[in-house]
């Protein structure tokens, strides 16, 4: 689903910070950035490479983004999608923000203005990168799934 509010916010941020290279994946959004570099959709390997090499990862509050940031050990700044604005079919991203947002390296913006402030602050001091995690889920969890497969 499109998320023009985030695209526009980061494009405006890029205009105010010409010294920072900003690249935005806009998906099916209508708003096309005028200041930042942009792409509709990156192949997964390129997406992961971008996360791996960025200074700050800005995204919606989705699990793919969160897990990618944690796996890459990068701070992530997130703007949750809101159902009231037609950005998702429900407000589960607010729930994700509430339940996971306290983890080290995960940062939540309340709105576009807050996003701007936090992006600058996090780039200046990325203190609070996620704790490294293993590539796979907790072995106790996958062991129970294995037991289901083998039962």
């Amino acid at each position: 689903m499109p998320f023009d509010r985030l695209t526009r916010a980061m494009d405006e941020w890029a205009a105010a910070h010409p010294e920072v290279a900003v690249e935005i994946q806009i998906g099916k959004g209508e708003y096309e950035p005028r200041h930042a570099r942009w792409v509709r959709k990156l192949p997964l390997s390129e997406y992961q490479a971008r996360v791996q090499t960025c200074g700050l990862f800005v995204a919606h509050c989705g699990m793919g983004s969160i897990i990618s940031a944690i796996e890459a050990g990068k701070p992530i700044l997130m703007l949750p999608r809101l159902a009231a604005l037609g950005e998702h079919n429900n407000d589960h991203q607010l729930a994700t923000a509430k339940h996971l947002g306290h983890r080290p390296g995960l940062h939540i913006a309340a709105d576009a203005v807050d996003l701007h402030t936090r992006a600058a602050a996090l780039l200046a001091d990325s203190g609070g990168t996620p704790a490294p995690i293993s590539r796979f889920a907790d072995p106790a969890f996958t062991a129970r799934i294995r037991a289901f497969i083998e039962s």
């Binding site: 689903m1 192949p43 997964l44 390997s45 989705g62 699990m63 793919g64 983004s65 969160i66 897990i67 990618s68 944690i70 079919n89 589960h92 991203q93 729930a95 994700t96 509430k98 339940h99 996971l100 995690i133 590539r135 796979f136 889920a137 907790d138 072995p139 106790a140 969890f141 996958t142 062991a143 129970r144 799934i145 294995r146 289901f148 497969i149 083998e150």
Partner: protein
């Protein structure tokens, strides 16, 4: 002798969560199915299939997705389906159930306050439903852990 397993999820976070579960089926005869061909490398050296995506927001795409998923089931002939959602995983479980395929629904960790729409229906067609949040466990829905 390993089991034939189909690990299936739609794109984005659903697929990334599924890939974090890979040790669960290591050594079994697994195939992976999702929507984005560019994610094949993440699945490793296993048979990889793609299907046309569908969600509740574009429910009219259900027939195309169901057709693709049915073809994958015929090709793989799984004994077990593991899915992290969303709607396509529910379709796979529903199509497999009459043929005795046992399905496990792992509700996305994104659903931290209520089960997903598809997850709430999964009990009808899956042998087991699990949530990744302990406070969402009920008599029918277990909590076994989470991908994080």
């Amino acid at each position: 002798m390993g089991k034939r397993v189909l690990a299936i999820a739609s794109g984005g976070g659903h697929f990334i969560q599924l890939m974090r579960l890979q040790p669960a089926w290591a050594g079994h005869d697994v195939s992976v199915a999702t929507v984005d061909p560019s994610t094949a490398a993440l699945a490793g050296d296993v048979p990889f299939f793609t299907f046309r995506d569908v969600s509740r927001a574009d429910w009219w795409r259900i027939p195309a997705a169901a057709l693709d998923i049915a073809r994958i089931l015929i090709a793989v002939r799984p004994q077990v389906i593991i899915t992290t959602g969303a709607l396509p995983g529910l379709i796979a479980a529903a199509l497999g159930r009459p043929f005795g395929i046992r399905s496990l629904w792992v509700d996305s960790i994104a659903n931290s306050e209520v089960m997903s729409g598809s997850g709430a229906q999964a009990g009808r067609v899956c042998a087991q439903v699990v949530t990744q949040w302990p406070h969402l466990a009920t008599g029918k829905v277990d909590h076994w852990g989470s991908v994080l």
